[in-house]
Point group: C2
Chain length 311, copies 2
């Protein structure tokens, strides 16, 4: 069994590649919930939903987020009533938030609701929120501390980031399925997806027990760099790295994951700065074929590390 | 100023007729909230919304409920996720429930939220929920007690009704605007719209102070019978009357409002059973012209009663 750690779009794409080539019972995707927030009174879980929509094939591949064929009639009407419409929730997407909120209020956990949604959408792989407890990614900026969506959507990543914190993380527990996966003897490898290391992967590592488990694991772990040619495919990773005084290189990514990974998968565009141990390949996932290609590359690299762990 | 007491569709139609012919500051519509319920975790107020959508001109005139051009993408997705889809909430309509629920949870009252929604939708007349406190219409049936929507939508009014009660009514207060309207010296008449007397008007009368105010008023009050030819235009009024051992006649309606009204407006189809004091006219409101016609008739009858109160 392979465990993948993922945030939103980039993570969901590699997770989908893995889902398409691994037997269905042999993949579990652990997903960041640090971006979860309450909007219009509803519990919105952007990253788990992006992974769920991608693995069910319901996602919009052109826009990169949300559901294919989505409409926004409700949000327009919310705007007409004076409600907040800066965060666009599609009509079909809203159903996920409405049902999740209702079930959370009825006492169910985020992870059990997610598992049920996945079953209903025909997803056989495990999609596991990192925790059932609230963890909130907050960005320190010269304008003060911003909640993730305020920074990411409302301010379009414009403020300079001077630090990141994960409110609630120290009091959070890994979700029950994650706990049992961390103890599983079926595990054969771990993949850190090409998600933002600071905003998507770090919150997962901040859940008590997870970083420890990764540093003590006995199976190989590789990360896929989210950078291509020193730039992020999507999102503020490269901008943030510069603001935090880091170079936008494979080495900086490897340093971020120091002690946790056995190797880094980087794009050909960054080959000149390869930082051993590295596996160089094409990491841009333009379509499902690209997702499958990268998944194959990652699995082969894990296999290689398993065969010669002292690489 | 005219006060109209209204439930859903029939009440909204006469209220709209009144709104179109009275100066905009001279109409207040007091609306039943006994049908309000929580669905999918959202606070749904069917009657206030029907009146609001009708007076804003956003209502679907063919279907008779909801908004024109409505879509149901969210509800279909809710069904796919295993959620309850027996009560159809349109995508635009959902915005009303989402915003109302969010604002109620933030501590605003139903009546202030309704007033703000009306302002945003361009409605100048007052639409006033009867109370900001929860009142729940419940129907006694041989199968046990049913909440209103369970009876009305889920069971399509099939169970025999042996009694009606309004849970919470004795502890409820009239909404603040209703309190000030009941004291207003600007009042010149009161209209009980052709809504179901037992399910739409009775809950308003059950709010402490309202029945008393109606019985002591010094301005004329008329009711419009919801029956045409002994049948209800819409809904279970006639069926319920039979089940409750009442005849479906103007007299039974007048008895229901005994001591509260000075006269009853009935349809020509029931002229043979006219029960004095009655005003006979065409009460079927097929379109906006029909709404305006009936509103004119009602206002003229009020005027007549004001001139010769001993009729």
């Amino acid at each position: 069994m392979i465990i993948a750690l993922a945030g939103g779009v980039g993570g969901a794409r590699l997770a989908n590649g893995l889902a398409r080539i691994l037997p269905e019972s042999e993949l579990a995707v652990i997903v960041n919930t640090g971006d979860d927030f309450r909007h219009l009174g509803l519990h919105v879980s952007p990253d788990p939903d992006t992974v769920m929509y991608t693995l069910s094939g319901l996602n919009d591949t052109e826009r990169g987020w949300g559901l294919a064929g989505e409409t926004f009639a409700c949000m327009e009407a919310v705007g007409r009533l004076g409600g907040e419409s800066w965060f666009a929730l599609g009509d079909r997407d809203l159903a996920t938030h409405i049902e999740r909120t209702r079930r959370l209020e009825a006492g169910e956990t985020l992870s059990s609701i997610t598992a049920d949604f996945c079953a209903r959408l025909g997803i056989r792989q495990l999609i596991v929120p990192m925790s059932d407890d609230p963890v909130q990614t907050r960005l320190r900026t010269p304008e003060g501390e911003l909640a993730f969506q305020d920074y990411f959507v409302r301010r379009r990543c414009e403020p300079k980031v001077t630090g990141v914190e994960f409110a609630g993380a120290t009091a959070a527990s890994p979700s029950p399925i994650l706990v049992s996966l961390m103890r599983s003897e079926r595990l054969s490898g771990i993949v850190i997806c090409p998600s933002n290391p600071f905003l998507s992967i770090e919150p997962i590592l901040a859940v008590p027990g997870v970083r420890d488990w990764l540093s003590r694991r006995t199976v190989p772990c590789v990360a896929v760099s989210p950078l291509i040619g020193g730039k992020a495919v999507k999102g503020p990773a490269a901008k943030m790295m510069a603001e935090l005084g880091l170079q936008t290189t494979p080495q900086a990514i490897a340093t971020q994951y120091e002690g946790l990974i056995d190797g880094l998968v980087i794009d050909r565009a960054d080959a000149a700065q390869a930082y051993p141990p590295c596996h160089v390949t094409d990491t841009l996932m333009r379509n499902v074929a690209g997702q499958e290609f990268l998944a194959h590359e990652v699995l082969r690299y894990l296999e290689q590390l398993r065969a010669s762990p002292a690489s």
